[in-house]
Amino acid sequence: MPSRRCWVAAAVALLLTEPPLSWAGERPNAVPKVVRSEATRLVEEGTRAGVDRSRLEALVRRLSRAGLSAEASRQVLYPAFDAARTGLPSNVVLEKVEEGLLKKAAPLALAEASRRRLEALRRARKLLSAANLAPGSRRSQPLLLTTALALESGVTDQLLDATLDRAGGRSSSQVKSAVEAAEALWLAGLEPAIVEALAADCLNRNLKRADVLRVVRFAEEKKRQGMAGAAIREALWKAAGKAARPPAVMPRPAAPGVNSRDPSATPPGAPRAAAP
């Protein structure tokens, strides 16, 4: 009989000290050993490729908490690894994944956004190479990123190619400002030919960043007022006292998802930035 009492006491003690297995899933750090080893392998692989380890570890944890399987996490993170392996900035790919996680995007959408970001970076590098702008150098990284984001926004390769072709003799900052202007004007709904012409104007006239921003704001404002692209350009340079010859404007086909907004529904104003 005493031995039975001992067994009962031991069983009670065990129950009190160790929670039941069904609780394990509710503990914050409870990750099955198999999943944990998969995650570790993923982090090791990314680190070997050149991705920042601490950022990757945090991201893998977030992906796991969001319910993504190891395979799904791999699909989401592989573009970042590929970017790092090929000398492209992997941090901007990770940033896209972080944005998607914050917005509670589905695993497939996350993987697709990550892949698209890598694709945009590759296309940007190709464009910069074609324009002899040394896409591999550290100094041209901001221009590479700006070009990639413009491509992601839907700006065509041809338009950016034409802009980058005029970069000769201009500073990296001026070229970057022209590409950013092209993206902003494209998103504002101006015709591609006008966007290209205005971006070229910025480079040909050797405009500094502050002036390029003024060009963009002027064009956006006139577009809101319903002015046509060619008229905007003419008014812009007339206002500057240096009228430019209007370009031969080709009508732009309606770009789905870009020009769908009603310009009259967007009142002018915020965010209001002071002059840099």
Binding site: T146, E180, L187, A270
Partner: protein, 196 residues
């Protein structure tokens, strides 16, 4: 014995004994011989010839400037070994200039003040999230609503291109309706794009 030695030392140092001469005969003889030796030494001291000090001073280089020039010259390496110090000096100047330029750029081209404003009269909490926060929530909360239902935040952001969206009550995402440039975010919504 110790007293005697002290007496002798005092005699040699000062020339006059402190206290009485030791009484012991041997010691007295010793003292006598010391005294005669001392007198001999004093007599044999040669005096410097007249004008010796003036001739030494005349032989020294003239003026303070000459001394400084010689001192400066001593820093310059002989036998054409000038390349290393010159290059080191040039490199130090270059590093200093680059550092100053970098510091200038960071301090002058730094941050641009910008005011974000959104109309959300029914919201309890409005956050601003974007590329400038690394898409991390909870860092920038807008103040409001004011009497017209607007929420507002003024920040200083680095010059450049930024993407952002407002998060209302932690669940509803909206792109800034007051900017012309908005782009699909790839997750079924839109982000606003601004250039500063």
């Amino acid at each position: 014995m110790r007293d005697e030695r002290e007496w002798i030392h005092a005699l040699l140092d000062a020339g006059t004994p402190a206290g009485d001469v030791p009484s012991d005969d041997d010691d007295a003889r010793l003292v006598k011989s010391y005294r005669s030796a001392l007198a001999l030494l004093e007599e044999s001291r040669e005096r410097a010839p007249e004008g010796f000090t003036a001739s030494v001073m005349a032989a020294l280089p003239d003026g303070v400037e000459a001394g400084w020039i010689d001192r400066l010259r001593s820093f310059w390496p002989d036998r054409g070994r000038w390349a290393l110090p010159t290059l080191a000096g040039a490199l130090a100047t270059l590093i200093l200039a680059a550092g100053l330029a970098l510091f200038q750029r960071e301090s002058t081209q730094g941050l641009v003040p910008v005011t974000f404003e959104v109309h959300a009269p029914d919201a309890q909490r409005v956050e601003l999230v974007g590329s400038f926060t690394g898409w991390k929530p909870g860092q920038i909360l807008l103040q409001g609503p004011d009497a017209t239902g607007h929420w507002r935040a003024t920040l200083r952001l680095p010059a450049g291109r930024h993407e952002y969206a407002y998060l209302l009550d932690g669940r509803e995402w909206i792109a800034d309706p007051e900017v012309a440039a908005r782009r699909p975010d790839g997750f079924g919504r839109e982000n606003a794009v601004i250039q500063l």
